[in-house]
Symmetry: C3
Subunit: 202 residues, 3 copies
Amino acid sequence: MAILRRLPPIRRAEARFQHVEEEVLRGLRERMDALDPAASHHAEAFQNRLTISLEQDTDTLEMEIVQGLAGHLVSDEWRLLAALSDGSGYPLLTLRRARWRDSGEALHRYSSIGRSAGVYAQEYVPLYLARLINNGLAAALPERAALRMDYELCEGDATFREAQRRWGGERPPLKVRRETLVISPAGQRLWDTVMQLGEEER
Amino acid sequence: MAILRRLPPIRRAEARFQHVEEEVLRGLRERMDALDPAASHHAEAFQNRLTISLEQDTDTLEMEIVQGLAGHLVSDEWRLLAALSDGSGYPLLTLRRARWRDSGEALHRYSSIGRSAGVYAQEYVPLYLARLINNGLAAALPERAALRMDYELCEGDATFREAQRRWGGERPPLKVRRETLVISPAGQRLWDTVMQLGEEER
Amino acid sequence: MAILRRLPPIRRAEARFQHVEEEVLRGLRERMDALDPAASHHAEAFQNRLTISLEQDTDTLEMEIVQGLAGHLVSDEWRLLAALSDGSGYPLLTLRRARWRDSGEALHRYSSIGRSAGVYAQEYVPLYLARLINNGLAAALPERAALRMDYELCEGDATFREAQRRWGGERPPLKVRRETLVISPAGQRLWDTVMQLGEEER
């Protein structure tokens, strides 16, 4: 992992992410400092805030949106987005409540992208995948024949087998689906924007 | 967009949202100021925190919950909730991994609500929709015949067609589903609560 | 609820959660204090941040990840995780856009776990369930025969019936599914880690 984190693209990604995060903190501090506790419960202060809100410029709005969408990601999720950002597809195993041909709701996800991307907390990869997919930053596409060997390796993973065992007695039985993890178009756009923010600072 | 943002309901919504946000910041600042770094690693300080937690009054609890549920929304998502808050249904196109009659997992969402609500960053509408729906604030209901013309307009949208093209080669092929975007009952309740908080301040 | 909150396991859970939250606040304050506004737009400061990022030790990384994954939970969601953390399954009703045998997308969820766990804002239980499930902390397993009586009680709940009525006219009609709410393997791991953090402080 130490070696991967030193590779230039990941290195730049982390530094730029940290930059965005600092902008959030700086903005928070400024707004905290600007709060006047004595005025907080008066209609006047409320009117002032309204005026400020309507005069907010587009740069501030854009920064607020990028921070809101990217700011809740933990550093490991940032590493996963970095690995996905070149458009690669990674093997993904999903435990689903599937019946017949129905795709069914995903209950647990596992992917070897955790190791490729050098995430620190491998045990939270299922959480990272749920968060990235359900918040629209990544997507689970159908199985890819080219990843056959990788699926087989994933199926032997200890944490994935533990999840399978844990829910092995359910009726109707849960099914394992082979899928492909990719970045979403909007996830790609968010990534590119954060990368550009970092570039502009240099 | 400038005109829409000046309409009274949206105007009030933004000001009230900003008010909630400021309450979060004020609470954060107070709690940061209250932290005594020297005491942080002692059992005594831990016991004190426990006592404070159990004595927390219901007003504080309610504010903490409203802030926790609404505080992570970006301003554009707030604009979408404002548009949905009168109970209207908006045309929604969802790209799904559907097979046969199966509804299938949503991979990408697009709705013209972005333009109606005057969101600033149109390119992030798919992210906003994923976040609102998966966090329980909005829901995707079945197609409505009355929206037929709107679905046709949505199907011509450049960003939606780009997502379709990007994943056009998948097998089995992804399907476009016409759906209806509405606010959820709990989303409505959260919206009404935030609106009331604003009113009480006036 | 007052009685439940005084039970030792919940009491410890809340205190430990508050501890994690304070660590977040402390970290935020330190980083805010460390920001030098004058240096913020220089390449030099950017290089310094990069160096700091790469030298971050594993304890700091782990704390950052746990805070990022647990820090956005509201206290009521923490109460739900506390109830689920012994591995119990709770009755869950899900309103789905199901067709035939298809499981279909979940539009609304309700569970009596809200009352068992002593949550403060019962009206937001559908939001809590959506957030816990879609962020990978909990999962909806198939119906359990042993919970038959509990499902019947849930089906009579006023807020669940309100949601059913609200969307009762949709075509094709929505279906109510009986399911079982459980903690996920990664949710269990996160819970155990937060509990240990609290223990170490004593």
